[in-house]
């Protein structure tokens, strides 16, 4: 099993953190992982993305050219990466920020209004965790205990109080039925 997961969106949405939690999820599940950010003259509001590979085997190239899973939180990233997704892969789309539907019929598209949900929950900064929750439900690979452990490892000790609310956001995404 190898999942090549591309997280993409605006700087400031917590794209890199989202990838980090996913990497720790792989780690606590006993898998090999790598996390590679786009780096460059990035800034808040610019595009940001990171490549996360989770595999039974040692990770070769850390760069993802054709993701098995694309988590996308803004239109420029959707336009840029939609066509790179492997056939049979997943695209998880924040439908509150991207009104377009995918034109691909060889991938599984999951539309979730993560940003709107986060606003309604009073945690506007945690749309990323809602997206992650959706990804976890799509991959159907881990338990809630493992998610909590991954969060505990990802969140610095000084921000420990944020673990519970992150977990709630992940759960909301996990429970959201995007097929309706």
């Amino acid at each position: 099993m190898t999942r090549e997961i591309l997280f993409a969106g605006f700087g400031g949405q917590g794209i890199l953190f989202c990838g980090k939690v996913m990497s720790y999820l792989g780690l606590v599940s006993g898998l090999e992982v790598s996390w590679l950010p786009s780096y460059g003259p990035e800034m808040r509001g610019g595009t940001a993305n990171c490549h996360v590979i989770v595999s039974n085997d040692a990770v070769g190239s850390p760069i993802i050219n054709n993701p098995t899973d694309l988590i996308v939180m803004n239109l420029p990233s959707f336009d840029k990466f939609e066509n790179t997704v492997s056939p049979g892969g997943n695209i998880i789309i924040d439908s509150s920020l991207i009104s377009k539907k995918t034109s691909r019929n060889d991938v599984n598209a999951h539309y979730i209004p993560a940003t709107q949900m986060a606003n309604e929950m009073g945690v506007p900064k945690l749309a990323n965790m809602i997206m992650l929750g959706k990804l976890i439900s799509v991959l159907a690979a881990v338990s809630l205990d493992q998610v909590k452990e991954a969060l505990e490892k990802s969140v610095p000790p000084s921000k420990k109080e944020l673990i519970e609310v992150n977990l709630k956001a992940i759960q909301a995404g996990y429970n959201f039925n995007s097929d309706i």
Binding site: K20, S23, L27, V33, W35, G60, S61, P62, N65
Partner: protein, 349 residues
Amino acid sequence: MDKVLMKGNEAIAEAAIRANCRHFFGYPITPQTEISAYMAKRMSKVGGTFLQAESEVAAINMVYGAAGAGVRVMTSSSSPGISLKMEGLSYIAGADLPCVIVNIVRAGPGLGGIQPAQSDYFQAVKGGGHGDYRMIVIAPSSIQETVDCTIDAFDLADKYRMPVMLMGDGMLGQMMEPVSFPEVKTDHLPKKDWATTGTKMKRKANIINSLYIHPEELEEVILKREEKYNTIYETEVKYHTEGLENADVVLVAYGTTARIAKAAIALAKQNGIKAGLIRPITLWPFPTDIIAKTAPNVKCMISVEMSTGQMVEDIRLAVNGVCPVHFYGRTGGAVPTPTAIFEQIRRYA
């Protein structure tokens, strides 16, 4: 110990601290600034010294001073900054002082770009600074190996009293992988009785110097150093191989490129082509012997690099005409894809 996810840059800094490095002098530059940032945060907590110098030139000369005092010391930079350090580096080599220099390579020449590259190979292994000197150059390929190599780098520097460079590319500096930190022992290393720590009127003064006015005297010093380099070439070569048995095509690649090469080798296998990999871990001393030994058994070798072809020259010297040596590379911050490397394998298989 539990594994933690760390960026290559942070892992280098933490490994250095665990290897008892207590002095760091640096100057920020993408894509290695996290090393400085980590040191700034941690050094004061372990009783060490972190100093952001006014320039790279100043930083390397602070390293020169600290190394002369016999403490474990490190500096880090990326390509343009490493060029600035070259004068100091030559002085350090000429004064036989141990230190660790990290180069998280970005594209050049000039200011170049900030994306990953391997185009500082010549500078690292062929000199860079002036004079007859060598530097051990270690090129890890994963974050765990980066940790292990950082610790080795300090040991090798102390063992041979010389500068050691840890060379990664921007991607290795920026990416995260799980790491654990081994226990570090230093009691097997020679005492630094040459350090300029003050005589307390009890011994003759130690002098650290790289200036010898009389040619005969300087020649003797250089030739003695050359003997040390020969010993290193005989004993400290490190590399990793995969699938050399029955391989028709052997890729030679280091660092991040070696990981991508592995993915290309897997593609070749799916297509019924036998390809293998030689991955130099020490770029100097270069793994000449394994390359020479492999050459008669293969159709060809391909050097894969993020440059326009630098290591390929050392491979050709090692192969000495026994088999063709081809080159494939991307440069300027572009990174080869597994498919593109596979196409090269198919072309020459």
